[in-house]
Symmetry: C2
DNA sequence: GTAAAGCATATTGTATACAATATGTCGTCG
DNA sequence: CGACGACATATTGTATACAATATGCTTTAC
């Protein structure tokens, strides 16, 4: 009832396909046959193709001319490139937003507590972790930056999802979150930035072994 | 003939439309009627729509549901957001690439000289300026970052184009370029980064009055 | 004279049909 | 036995046809 105006099919299709990709339901390197997927989703190929082209532009699919779409593979190389970008953007967003007020710092704390408690429930922890970082950067006045940040995060979600069931990592993440929040509380913006950088480095280091990377990630720092 | 494989129509159409937008041939806020543009380009609506959706995703068009595509307006607000992002990304790319060798520094110098000489020829100066920044960041090993950077640059080109015919600014830019290159030559990466930030701030300040902005741009620093 | 309603038109959104290209199979030739 | 080529099939790329929605104009009621 709520929505007066139905979303166009190509938008719905995009969201549906994206969810399948993020959840790994459509595994990396899987070939996407338009006609089959279209029938599966109950739409025709036209809006589906628009959705697929959209996802290709976002990096979730690759399009080989005259051969079709394939789910983009997860690669250690991309992860090693993505995480520093994320760190850079979040740092900048944090900096531009200035020091958060006590209300937001408390909000961060409460979400982080729930995150620590949700260590057993990977999917919930995944959500809370995403929420924490969103809140952290929500003070940034640069909307364009936040949009780009959201795009990069979506790409990262696939990697996070692939390395989900690790309770130990969730606790470690929560600890680092607390350290960042503490620095912010002390008015130490630079320190918070450094901790944030370190946090993402830790995340990356924890991720790489799980997607079959042998080399380390120290190249970019 | 050279090309074995013809590019798909949707890709050709995208490029053609993008060029019209960047050149201002398709002015901001212009309504884009699919059937007319399709006939004009000599393709059907299907690949054209794919091209338009692509451009919408890149921020060059807006899509109002059931009303069609419009060329995205140039806004002082977007410019104020875009330029700091560009500065951030170029700084990071420069940092990740490490200090460039003498060969690349000389290359920067030669392009910058040609840029200074081309002050009268706006379009050529525009090209050379773009080339200079591309060279500056070409040492960055993070391909993903470079791709994103390219995307942001394309968006910026519209603004640069809108404020093109200013010989004075081109000379000023060339001077700042020289300062950055000099810092790099001295092995002062941090100094180069600061100069680069300042350079983009200068560019933004010069741009804002030309697109009808009254407020200043100091909010984000 | 003005405002609202309904019809006519234009345009987008989606589905289907057709054309071009790639892939796999089978048979034949060396 | 292996490799090459022709044909059959599957799939993508593009064009066209149809449906749904928005827009503008005319008409009519007050």
């Amino acid at each position: 009832m709520a929505r007066i105006r139905a979303k166009p099919l190509h938008a719905q299709a995009r969201q549906a396909v994206l969810e399948r990709i993020l959840r790994g339901e459509l595994a990396p390197d899987t070939r996407v046959v338009e006609s089959r997927l279209a029938e599966d989703l109950g739409v025709s190929r036209t809006p589906l193709r628009e959705a697929l082209m959209h996802l290709e532009r976002e990096g979730f699919l690759k399009l080989e001319p005259n051969r079709g779409f394939f789910v983009a593979p997860l690669s250690a190389e991309e992860a090693r490139e993505l995480y520093p970008i994320l760190a850079m953007m979040e740092c900048e967003a944090l900096r531009l937003g200035g020091l958060p007020g006590t209300a937001r710092i408390e909000y961060l704390g409460s979400v982080n507590e729930r995150l620590a408690e949700a260590a057993a429930d990977s999917e919930r922890a995944f959500q809370l972790n995403a929420e924490w970082h969103t809140i952290l950067t929500s003070g940034c006045p640069n909307r364009t930056l936040l949009k780009m940040l959201a795009g990069v995060r979506r790409k990262m979600y696939r990697y996070e999802w692939a390395s989900l069931p690790q309770a130990a990592r969730i606790e470690a993440a929560a600890e680092q979150h607390a350290a960042i929040a503490f620095a912010l509380e002390q008015g130490d913006a630079d320190g918070a930035g450094r901790d944030l950088q370190e946090h993402w480095q830790t995340e990356l280091d924890a991720l790489l072994p799980r997607i079959g990377a042998s080399a380390d990630s120290s190249g970019g720092r």
